[in-house]
């Protein structure tokens, strides 16, 4: 037997060093400018790709919540609002620069704790997080001109409960406008992803931000509920699933507190027969599988015109197959890890889909090991009535449906309680505009998907929540208007 000829081109593993994340053994809450307390339930932050613990985290309890809220109240009255927008802007710029300086460390840390490929955290999360601070630094001294009347007053202490996907970007989208407006914040990061938020606390310290302006309380859902219900919190911000969001709204009703919620979605891509096929394939694949589908605006549904459906799905499979599933720290990885709990939840969803009549196809791309990974999966023969077409998927699963006329496409796309994001693919401008006007979603991308810019407002309708992040609209949640 002759030795096999070496392949002319192959991708060798290109691993980022986990040491770049400068992990510590132990993390504590960040309250009133110090890393102290944490007398609540301690927990481990776990790497979803390996199921190994990354660090011990001291959980927060009621007394930590009290301390954080009163520190934020004091900072609001004495150290943050009084200094004025021009001074506040300087701190925001400083935070942005520190995020850029420590981008590599934070990108690796975010990849470790979320399972997102390090190339995406480097190229997407970190630059966009810094961009949020740069953008809102510009607003801090121009609030009079933001369209909310003269001298709009800040909300006071803001409690923010954040989800586990893209943790640093989602934090930046909410903390930056709050600080620009003169509000102070107490952040409760997701139980799964507290580390980037706590290192963000360190960056606030490094930037010389007055104590108490930003506080970070790691912990489980109980901590979040206590924080949002705390009488000292004037404004509650909840970002997470629709189900939890509804519960939060019920709990806070009648407490004289304002609530902004950024909830789930079941985004859709509508591909017309005249779309540029390869680019539409790319958009649909990115839309469904970016960050393992773990973004609320993920395009988890595809509506493709029946006349091109067969060819389009064949192209979709070929492209999906070429995605590399693997170690999130490998710079050649396209699809990272989910963690075994998420994989179990999605497997159940897929089983239900197949039982209801859908056809499952999973990319043969081999994950490094069983457990925390689910290769990108397509469900074809999906009907509007099936649970997969109605659920908030939040994973690398794409449901494929077809349509015959533009009206049918719009009707099917809108037939969901959510209304966050949609993509329209057509080479004909008038058709794209016709469709976009009729879609009941907060965002419509034409011949694109997942394009973000700090100047562009982003948010949803219906059960996707009422919050807006980005641009002047992103200030509203933190102003008393």
């Amino acid at each position: 037997m002759t030795e096999p000829k070496p392949r002319p081109l192959a991708y060798a593993p290109a691993l980022e060093s986990a040491a770049l994340a400068r992990l510590r053994e132990h993390y504590r809450p960040f309250v009133d400018g110090e890393f102290t307390g944490g007398t609540g339930e301690p927990f481990s932050s776990v790497n979803p790709a390996t199921a190994e613990p990354l660090a011990e985290v001291s959980g927060s309890d009621a007394s930590d919540v009290d301390r954080a809220v009163s520190a934020a109240e004091e900072a609001f009255r004495q150290r943050w609002t009084p200094i004025g927008g021009t001074e506040r802007a300087k701190y925001l710029f400083r935070i942005a620069r520190l995020l850029q300086e420590r981008a590599r460390e934070l990108a690796v840390l975010a990849s470790l704790e979320t399972g997102e490929p390090v190339r995406k955290t480097t190229e997407f999360d970190l630059p966009n997080a810094a961009a949020q601070f740069l953008h809102y630094a510009g607003w801090a001294d121009k609030l009079d001109y933001a369209g909310f009347g003269p001298s709009p007053a800040p909300q006071g202490v803001v409690g923010q409960v954040l989800p586990s996907n893209l943790p640093l970007l989602l934090l930046a989208q909410r903390v930056a406008p709050a600080l620009a407006c003169g509000a102070t914040v107490v952040v409760k990061p997701a139980e799964r992803t507290p580390l980037t938020a706590l290192v963000f606390g360190e960056i606030c310290e490094q930037a010389g931000l007055p104590a108490g302006v930003v506080n970070v309380l790691p912990g489980g859902p109980g901590v979040g509920a206590k924080l949002l219900a705390h009488p000292g919190v004037r404004k509650a911000v909840f970002a997470g699933s629709t189900e939890t969001g509804k519960r939060v709204r019920r709990d806070l009703a009648g407490r004289g507190k304002r609530l902004t919620s950024d909830l789930g979605g079941s985004g859709v891509n509508i591909v017309f027969a005249d779309a540029a096929p390869e680019e539409a394939v790319r958009g649909v694949v990115e839309g469904a599988f970016f960050n393992q589908g773990r973004v609320r605006c993920a395009g988890s549904r595809l509506l493709v015109e029946e006349s091109v459906a067969e060819e389009f799905v064949a192209r979709l499979r070929a492209r999906t197959e070429s995605l590399r599933v693997g170690d999130p720290l490998d710079r050649n990885t396209d699809v990272g890890a989910l963690g075994s709990a998420e994989v179990a939840r999605l497997s159940e969803l897929l089983e239900r889909g197949v039982a209801e009549g859908a056809t499952r196809w999973t990319s043969p791309a081999a994950p490094p090991h069983d457990g925390g990974f689910l290769p990108p999966t397509l469900l074809t023969d999906v009907q509007q009535s099936m649970s997969v077409a109605r659920a908030e998927v939040f994973g690398p699963v794409l449901s494929v449906l077809t349509f015959r006329t533009p009206e049918e496409a719009v009707t099917k796309a809108n037939n969901t309680p959510h209304g966050l994001a949609a993509g329209v693919w057509s080479e004909k401008g008038s058709r794209a505009l016709w469709t976009a006007r009729r879609l009941r979603t907060g965002v419509v991308w034409a011949n694109a998907f997942h394009r973000f810019d700090p100047t562009a407002p982003f948010g949803g309708r219906g059960e996707s929540g009422d919050g807006r992040v980005g641009g002047a609209a992103g200030l509203e949640a933190y102003l008393d208007v």
Partner: protein, 326 residues
Amino acid sequence: MVDSPPSNPPKAGLPGDLAEATRDEAALTRFLRGLPGIDAVGLEQRAASLAGRAVKGDAKLRAIDTAIGMVDLTTLEGADNASKVRALAAKARRPDSRFPDVPRVAALCVYPDLVSDAVAALRGSGVGVASVATAFPSGRSTIRAKLAEVELAVESGADEVDMVIDRGAFLAGEYGRVFDEIEQVRAACAPAHLKVILETGELGGYDNVWRASWLALLAGADFIKTSTGKVSPAATLPVTHVLLRAVREWRDRTGQPRGVKPAGGIRTTKDAVRYLVAVLEVAGPEWLTPESFRFGASGLLNDLLMQRETQLDGHYSGPDQVAVDL
């Protein structure tokens, strides 16, 4: 699929719809205008994201050797003469005298009147001789003059002919004229391989590059090539994606393999590796051979040699360790 007898004999081996497209100018125009579009933003994003693939260590060394074997070492200057051709031929045979295991390049690419010198200098080496022709680089001459040039090249022993298309006619929508010219050159250059230069920098957009690629493939090009190197922009990654997509779809529809050659502007190993990644991911692994992919370049070879040495020795040496192209 064609019911009425075609006015042109249908091309052998083409499936019905493609054979139909070659029947007359009207059919060809319908076919080219009916091709699906290309979205510039999405195409450029894909090209940029694939450019981020990391090829390191041993894989990089193999990629460098693969790239060296795909180089069409090129000299196309007014000052070219027999001595310059002999110098380059020596380098084409053995690119780096210190490392005998460096593969030879694919071909030496010269002007038609220097083909006989190149053939003499490369006899027995396995390195091909390619010649530009058809009033390179502008293509502005009569078909008679163009064919005479092709005949000169082929009679002098060229293995490959790199022709330019008539961009003026293409932009005027005279697809039939461009098609006929390629077919005539195709006939005149046999048995040499035909590379058709689209000069993408003058075509004004990816949709036209896509149409021109299909036009050249329908007319019988063995290779489609981006540029002459005399017009800026020359080869770019997104444009090469379009060409690679065309040959892959051509293979899927006809079963016939066709090649791609980006030319001009590819100067570094990093660039070359990015092109190889595009070949692998857009066309497929079967295209990673000199029979299906070439680099039209001159300076690139030296950078590949320097990077190759760096991979082997662990340190970078310097430009004077490799031969200048003079």
